[in-house]
């Protein structure tokens, strides 16, 4: 795997060097291990492995910044430009982000895991800092002066105390072709000197989006392009037995494309291709259903035997014996869809033996290699282009639609656009897995946790390291490949939503059993000082000691994800008659290290919380084996306007620290904060998400 990545990266480098234009270019090369050490006190010497980023100061003075990451609404098109502009001392509006184009950008595995700000920011800052130094050297030479007597403001280098002597970056880079590759740790600016980092910057792509001009993969039209419709089975994983395409002759100009289980029709008019596809009858052999949305939890528990101990200390038995209060519970979470408003789309064409693709993918380089592999083409014959994504959330990490589109294009010999219907989206999404978490926890007479036993089925261990001090504990992870009736995969903070729901619900269960309020109980058991500060900030901002209105409840949840600590407090109103929940207010406090763009971080946090209300209260895929009953939004309720609470985001001030993840962390706490608030409001403890009115009424009776 590692060597595959290396050779892909090497390919990127060859391509890049070939395409190099004029100006000042800084190529940033850092080893995989050391790229986060830029913020460490004594960073190791930087080895030259391959470059992770580069930027070019063009001859017109504008900056091109290249990264393999993509923009899907998480705002990095803005925040990355911001850090480049900061170090380079230019206006943010002079920076053009070139993202996710496999022929222009350095290799990148994919945009996920809230990694961009943590790992690309330092790299780009370093490259920009180096470019600034190169330009200063050129200016020093130009003026015949020492570099230290120069200063840069907004891309103009001038001599300190002599404002008549100045020269622009554009003039400095004109006619030059300077390539620098970074080999030493560059001088990054200190927080006190920041002009842009830490300042709220509004999204740079907003105007393109409000005018409808922003291009997504389905907005690319190619000459002679056809629209493809694939004939799908009703049950996931079905194998084709027999195809009857005899009615196809009713549709003039339609072309049938068949390869293995893929049956598709293409036509220049998508309406015709859709109708024609409906006329094709395929006999499928479907796998036998083993579970539905109700039986899946027992099925997972019964089926999965293998487990790994993730964390273990002390003795569970001793812990149970020394506990005064001991509580066990099992928590369930159903399958969730990513449900981006943009479905999976790919538009592509062949020119000779080379294919060019615009795809809604979080991993352009992954798409390049998957398409190359599936169509048995060399890597360099697949070009994935930069494009906006209409949401990802982990759901656009594989390349199925690109492989399908490229296969169809190759077979029919025409440029192809493939837009998955919402129904296809609800079949081939790689869902967040259904999961079971079995928890036991106990405290002594002083409200100190003595024991914690945490068995996770299918949700993984991300973020489950305990930040509570508990002497006797065990965390195990149960998993098995192929247990799910359809595809599953990463969903915004993978697994962490489920495990945080279980842990933080159970902390409340134990706290209440011990007769302590959930805030004091947490503070009494936390050992991580930063988490304590984060929780205190949340409690203060929320006004946790304020009196509640009748029917209202408060709920706390703590969590950690992608290096960020989260403390969330929710207020809900529950109608005891109907079980309807109205989220009123959510305060989210985060320790995310350096906050590059507080405005962008706020948007991401608000978005995560809003999305999280959906998984907590409404979202659940209904199915029988691979047969999906959920086929559109009418059966898959997501958060709407009226259910969005007032949201307040606060951040721990840490400008000199390393930046941490921002896109995912906040969402992990929503389930438990809401569950705990519902309990506080009406006394219903619901152990299964989504927490539907029905389940609340059940718990109450």
């Amino acid at each position: 795997m590692k060597s595959a990545i290396k050779s892909e990266a090497a390919y990127s480098r060859r391509r890049f060097i070939k395409n190099l234009g004029g100006g000042v270019v800084v190529v940033f090369c850092l080893g995989e291990v050391s790229f986060s050490s830029l913020f460490a006190q004594d960073g190791q010497p930087l080895e030259e492995l391959d470059f992770n980023a580069y930027l070019r100061v063009k001859e017109d003075g504008r900056i091109d910044c290249f990264t393999g990451k993509i923009e899907m609404g998480q705002g990095i098109i803005t925040s990355l430009a911001q850090v480049v502009a900061e170090e380079l001392e230019v206006s943010i509006y002079d920076v053009d982000m070139i993202m996710g184009d496999t022929e222009l950008c350095p290799y990148d595995a994919g945009t996920w895991g809230s990694l961009t700000t943590r790992f690309i920011d330092p790299v780009l800052r370093a490259a920009a800092a180096e470019a600034r130094e190169v330009l200063l050297d050129l200016a020093a030479e130009h003026f015949g002066m020492n570099k230290t007597s120069l200063e840069v403001i907004q891309g103009v280098v001038s001599v300190k105390n002599d404002s008549s002597k100045k020269i622009t970056y554009a003039e400095l880079s004109k006619g030059k072709k300077i390539v620098r590759s970074l080999t030493k740790k560059p001088e990054l600016k200190k927080a006190k000197d920041f002009k842009l980092i830490g300042k709220p910057i509004r999204s740079l792509d907003a105007e393109a989006k409000v005018t409808g001009k922003a291009k997504y993969s389905g907005d690319i039209f190619l000459p002679g392009m056809v629209h493809a419709t694939i004939v799908r089975p009703e049950v996931f994983g079905s194998k084709k037995v027999k195809v009857d395409a005899s009615k196809l002759s009713d549709f003039a100009g339609v072309q049938l494309v068949e390869k293995d289980d893929l049956v598709a029709v293409v036509h220049s008019d998508p309406e015709v291709s859709q109708r024609a596809a409906k006329s094709i009858k395929i006999a499928w052999e479907a796998p036998i259903a083993k579970a539905n949305q109700e039986t899946i939890f027992q099925y997972l528990e019964d089926t999965i035997q293998d487990n790994k101990v993730f964390e273990s200390e002390g003795s569970l038995q001793l812990g149970e014996e020394t506990s005064k209060v001991y509580r066990k519970a099992t928590y369930h979470d159903g399958y969730k869809a990513h449900a981006s408003i943009e479905t999976h789309v790919a538009t592509c064409y062949f020119e000779g033996d080379k294919v060019t693709i615009w795809a809604s993918t979080q991993s352009p380089f992954g798409t390049r290699s998957s398409v190359a592999k599936a169509l048995q083409m060399p890597l360099e014959k697949v070009h994935v282009k930069q494009i906006f994504l209409g949401g990802g959330f982990g759901g656009k990490s594989n390349s199925q639609q690109s492989i399908e589109a490229a296969t169809i294009a190759k077979l029919c010999g025409k440029p192809v656009q493939l837009v998955w219907s919402r129904k296809e989206e609800f079949m081939y999404d790689n869902f967040r897995t259904a999961a079971v978490v079995k928890v036991a926890g106990g405290t002594d007479n002083n409200g100190k946790l003595k024991v914690w036993d945490f068995d996770i089925y299918c949700a993984g261990t991300r973020g489950t390291e305990l930040f509570y001090a508990i002497p006797n504990k065990r965390i195990r992870s149960f998993n098995q490949a192929g247990v799910h009736p359809f595809g599953t995969g990463a969903w915004r903070a993978p697994g962490n939503n489920t495990t945080t729901f279980a842990r933080e619900s159970h902390i409340d269960v134990v706290a209440h059993a011990a007769g302590m309020n959930p805030l004091d109980f947490r503070l009494n058991n936390l050992e991580n000082k930063e988490m304590i500060a984060t929780l205190q900030l949340a409690a203060k901002t929320f006004g946790y000691d304020k009196e509640k209105k009748p029917g209202h409840g408060y709920g706390i949840a703590l969590g950690q994800d992608a290096g960020t600590l989260v403390a969330m407090i929710a207020e809900v109103f529950v109608d005891k008659e109907t079980g309807e929940v109205q989220p009123i207010r959510i305060v989210c406090s985060q320790d995310m290290g350096q906050v590059v763009n507080p405005h962008g971080a706020t948007l991401q946090t608000e978005g995560g919380i809003t999305m999280g209300i959906g998984y907590a209260l409404y979202e659940e895929i209904e199915f029988n084996g691979g047969e999906m009953k959920t086929t559109n939004f009418n059966r898959y309720e997501i958060t709407r306007f009226s259910k969005t609470p007032k949201i307040e985001c606060v951040f721990i001030d840490k400008m000199d620290a390393k930046p941490q993840g921002g896109g995912e962390p906040a969402i992990i706490c929503v389930g438990a904060a809401i569950a705990n608030a519902i309990f506080d409001a009406c006394g219903a403890r619901v152990y299964r998400m989504p927490i539907t009115p029905e389940r609340i009424l059940d718990a109450l009776s």
Binding site: G73, E342, G391, R422, T610
Partner: protein, 159 residues
């Protein structure tokens, strides 16, 4: 096949159509105005919202044969003479979007709503926008933006 005549963003259009095509396909594919988006095809998400005779509708649910003689406005027709419409400006200033895929539909629905409800309360905005979905979760900012636009937008009907 029949001739269907209508205006899109003020320009007369005449197309030879079968009649059963969706207005969304007509706008997006036949006329290549791609600001209007497909999200569900069943009237459930609002990504495809446009105005017909100043009323917000879901273009995926409208048949081509029903637009004869109508005035249609899509997101591309909202700004005039290079100047952004107050709703577009408010979406930018409140940063009421993330991935932007729901944005055209949100803005068009807000436009239709504001034409009928000048200067609305937040509560009214929420009711008026309720069936438009945003997976990125920009709802609160969208409400802020519409509130601002409601104050800015000239009371007279545009176009």
């Amino acid at each position: 096949m029949k001739q269907i005549n209508f205006t899109l963003n003020g320009k007369p259009v005449s197309l030879e159509l079968q009649g059963q095509e969706s207005l969304l396909t007509v706008i997006r594919i036949y006329l290549e105005q791609t600001g209007t988006k497909y999200g569900c095809g069943l009237g459930e998400c609002g990504a495809c919202t446009v105005l017909i005779d100043n009323e917000a509708v879901r273009s995926c649910m409208i048949l081509a044969e029903d637009i004869e003689g109508k005035e249609i406005i899509s997101i591309e027709g909202l700004s005039s003479d290079g100047e952004l419409h107050p709703i577009q400006k408010a979406f930018i200033s409140h940063d009421a979007l993330q991935c932007g895929f729901c944005t055209s539909g949100m803005i068009m629905n807000a436009y239709g709503f504001l034409l009928q409800n000048p200067n609305p309360s937040r509560e009214k905005i929420i009711v008026g926008m309720e069936s438009n979905l945003c997976r990125c979760g920009a709802y609160n900012r969208i409400v802020d933006a519409i509130e601002t636009a409601g104050k800015e937008m000239p009371k007279k009907v545009k176009l």
